[in-house]
């Protein structure tokens, strides 16, 4: 079993490296470095080619920094875990090629990790006692899905978005409201001074565990166009939009808990940094299920969660070989068919 695992994450616009140290199934986080690319802010969204170029410039210095902060020399690393997908293909390729070559030259194993499985493992970094079974709500700029997790490495898809991811909707609505990128923190901050008076739709609220946010986004667009004083309405628009998204996420999660009978819920992904969502979910499920949310730094795209998921697979003796390649649309490993589900079991990023 590996005792030191280096994690690498380059799936979108964060260049990240982390070091896990320990043995058995309770590794400790020795360091985590996340470099967020600022260059995309002027575009209001991630530009894949610019992200790929920035990763190539930043990755090795970020890895060096993570090793230094952990006090671990490179030759003490026992294995490397790297995000192999899903994500931006050009960005993923930088991390995968670097990780493969480094592992090869060090004569140590490399393991490709699914980005979403990393998000699933993120809370386990802070809560080593955390064990399945649980329901997981993963919400980010690229994903919105509900999973039933009977055991680590075994996943059953309960529902997913049919169009925009929740985080994507936050970013697009932020742009409509003339706010900065990324939109989630901006909308949450603005919503604090607004009221939910626009009565935006709660798409698919009473139908299964799938999500849809594109209609909600369009409703905000119409409200913005109809506003005769956008400066006055902006906080209320932000509050109304956020309430609609949270209502949907909370109700769907409650339905997933009810249908599975699980007593534990994991909230993960970048949107899990939204404190209002975390509080509402915990309050709604109080007495039914315990909600675990990692701290914001571990909910953003980061290499610690990749190292932790990689640790799990390495412990099971799994390895990737030299032909490991990045995949923009990698299916979640370990997914089990759900006879009751009407949705496909894999999805694109």
């Amino acid at each position: 079993m590996a005792e030191v695992v280096l994690g690498i994450e380059t799936s979108c616009d964060e260049t990240s490296a982390a070091v896990l140290v320990g043995d058995g199934d309770r590794p400790e986080l020795a360091s985590l470095v996340i470099l967020s690319q600022d260059i995309h802010a002027v575009f209001g969204g991630v530009v894949p080619e610019l992200a790929s170029r920035a990763h190539l410039r930043a990755l090795d210095p970020v890895v060096q920094s993570a090793l230094e902060q952990a006090g671990v020399p490179l030759d003490a690393v026992d294995a490397i875990a790297v995000t192999e997908g899903p994500g931006l293909i050009g960005a993923l390729i930088v991390g995968v090629c670097y990780a493969k070559a480094l592992a090869d030259a060090l004569h140590i194993p490399v393991i490709g990790v699914h980005h979403l499985e990393g998000h699933l493992f993120a809370p386990a970094l802070e809560n080593p006692d955390l064990e399945p079974p649980f329901v997981a709500l993963l919400v980010s700029g690229g994903h919105t899905l509900l999973l039933d997790v009977p055991a680590w490495g075994r996943y059953r898809l309960l529902g997913e978005t049919r169009d925009d991811a929740a985080g994507e909707a936050f970013d697009k609505v932020a742009t409509l409201l003339g706010l900065g990128y990324p939109g989630g923190p901006e909308i949450e901050r603005l919503a604090e001074s607004g009221t939910d008076r626009f009565a935006f739709p709660r798409p698919m609220l009473h139908a299964g565990c799938d999500f849809s946010f594109s209609g909600l986004k369009t409703a905000v667009l119409y409200a913005v166009r109809a506003s005769d004083d956008i400066a006055r309405d902006r906080p209320d628009l932000a509050a109304s939009f956020q309430e609609a998204v949270i209502d949907v996420l909370v109700q769907k999660t409650a339905r997933a808990v009810e249908s599975t009978g699980r007593r534990s819920v994991i909230l993960g992904g970048g949107v899990a940094c939204n404190r209002t969502l975390a509080k509402r979910l915990a309050r709604h499920l109080a007495g039914t299920a315990h909600v675990t949310v990692a701290r914001p730094r571990l909910n953003l795209d980061n290499a610690a969660m990749i190292a932790r998921a990689g640790w799990f697979h390495l412990q099971r003796g799994e390895r990737s070989d030299r032909t490991l390649e990045a995949s923009a649309t990698l299916p979640l490993p370990g997914i089990e068919p759900d006879p009751a589900a009407s949705t496909p079991v894999t999805r694109s990023s």
Binding site: E14, T15, V33, I34, L35, S36, Q37, D38, I39, V42, F43, V47, E49, L50, S52, R53, A54, L56, R57, A58, L59, D60, P61, V63, Q64, L74, I89, G90, I93, V94, G95, V96, C97, Y98, A99, K100, A101, L102, A103, D104, A105, L106, R297, L300, R322, T323, L324, E325, A326
Partner: protein, 242 residues
């Protein structure tokens, strides 16, 4: 023996070679737009041929752009990973176009134009005069139409190579007076980078390969549009730590 590994992933045909100085000992190519999967196994294949391992390498030569953005990053990220573990390895680079021109020089005497298709009606092009013991850069790698190259080149090449010559065949034939040498023969080869090793000015050392990047030959399209719209360079940023 000073074992050198060369990588060229700048075009659709990727290749690796291992050699002693400028002597190519083993070489192999791969295609199918799966360079990221094929590159590292190919490195081991050529090392196996000469009974060597990564531990035996003293120098790595990686092809520079212009060329495929993703292809270039596959090569450069791989080199970054290798030299992080083996910091005694010397890293050098040369334009992939120069390697393609060297291939052309094996078929003809005189200046050779190397052209890669840059899409949107443009090519990445350069013109070199390659003799047995001398390299002259007639026209440095540039982006433009074939007409731009014809105008900028002070000499008329005797041969053109590369896929950019193929998509502009009639203009190339009018320029050089003969049919271009097309891929797979008329393309860059990692072995060419090794063959060029002794020519003064062919290779450029990279003192700090772990945070460098290739010459892409063209800015990202979003950056071009932004700068056109705002009339100033895109603000540079190294990002912020979280």
């Amino acid at each position: 023996m000073t074992l050198t590994l060369a990588l060229d992933t700048a075009t659709e045909i990727g290749s690796v070679a291992v050699g002693d100085g400028h002597l190519v000992l083993a070489e192999m190519s791969f295609g199918g737009r799966r360079h990221a999967a094929a590159l590292l196994p190919a490195v081991h294949d050529v090392l196996d041929v000469v009974g060597a391992t990564l531990d035996d390498l003293t120098t790595v030569v990686v092809a520079d752009g212009p060329g495929s953005f993703t292809g270039l990053r596959i090569g450069w990220a791989t080199v970054q990973g290798l030299v992080r573990a083996r910091d005694s390895i010397r890293v050098a680079t040369a334009p992939s176009l120069l390697g393609a021109a060297w291939v052309g020089s094996q078929f003809s005497s005189g200046p050779v134009a190397a052209l890669y298709d840059a899409l949107r009606g443009e090519v990445y092009g350069a013109v070199y005069q390659l003799d047995a013991d001398r390299l002259e850069v007639v026209l440095r790698p540039t982006l433009g139409t074939v007409a731009d190259l014809v105008e900028q080149s002070p000499v008329r090449p005797v041969l053109a190579v590369g896929d950019g010559a193929g998509v502009n065949r009639s203009a190339i034939e009018a320029w050089t007076g003969r049919a271009p040498l097309l891929p797979p023969v008329g393309s860059a080869r990692a072995g060419a980078l090794l063959a060029l090793a002794d020519l003064e000015g062919a290779l450029r050392d990279i003192p700090d390969p772990t945070s460098c990047e290739p010459d892409y030959g063209r800015a990202a399209e979003a950056q071009v549009r932004w700068e056109r719209q705002h009339g100033r360079p895109l603000p540079g940023s190294t990002g912020h730590a979280r």
